[in-house]
Amino acid sequence: EAAVTQSPRNKVAVTGGKVTLSCNQTNNHNNMYWYRQDTGHGLRLIHYSYGAGSTEKGDIPDGYKASRPSQENFSLILELATPSQTSVYFCASGGDRGNTLYFGAGTRLSVL
């Protein structure tokens, strides 16, 4: 079964600070995604990647950067965190030819 691991699981950050959320997948999927989940909004796509070295903007990329240094790893970077970025963030892999997305357990981020 696909394994997607996110770290950290919980994070408290200060406004203006830098936050890096990490995601690792062990199933050699080409595609990886970062979503955030907020009440009343469901899952919204922030950034995604089709393979090492590639990153694409999703539907709500402002305030976020992404990095895909290898097939296995995909990071989401908040250079200057703001309270509006308090959310639960999910990483996912898969999606090739529209196939199943496998999600990590989520990272709960609070920006104070």
Binding site: H41, L45, F90, G95, D96, R97, G98, F103
Partner: protein, 115 residues
């Protein structure tokens, strides 16, 4: 605007009943349609999916119907059980080149099945 819309934020059904969850989409390029299930404090998992060349797919108690001309798809659940209580997220995917897909999710419907 929102590309994938779920019409009901919440639904309640009695155990054993039949229910229908609905999803509307706007993008003509979507050719993959799915329903994900999410328990509180857990990650979403795929429940059932269908491609645009098929208008129905059944898997046990779960059936997805696709109406392409109406840009609408739905999830039918029969013989509902308390363990079906969860948030159901519809998703639509478009091919963005090669084998690459981008999935867009709806806001979710909280389903509660009462004993």
């Amino acid at each position: 605007g929102q590309q994938v819309k779920q019409s009901s934020p919440s639904l309640t059904v009695q155990e054993g009943g039949i229910l229908i969850l609905n999803c509307d989409y706007e993008n003509d390029m979507f050719d993959y349609f799915a329903w994900y299930k999410k328990y509180p404090d857990n990650s979403p998992t795929l429940l059932i999916s269908v491609r645009s060349n098929v208008d129905k797919r059944e898997d046990g108690r779960f059936t997805v119907f696709l109406n392409k001309s109406g840009k609408h798809f739905s999830l039918h659940i029969t013989a509902s059980q308390p363990e079906d209580t969860a948030v159901y997220l519809c998703a639509a995917g478009e091919n963005s080149g090669g084998s690459n897909y981008k999935l867009t999710f709806g806001k979710g419907t909280l389903l509660t099945v009462t004993p």
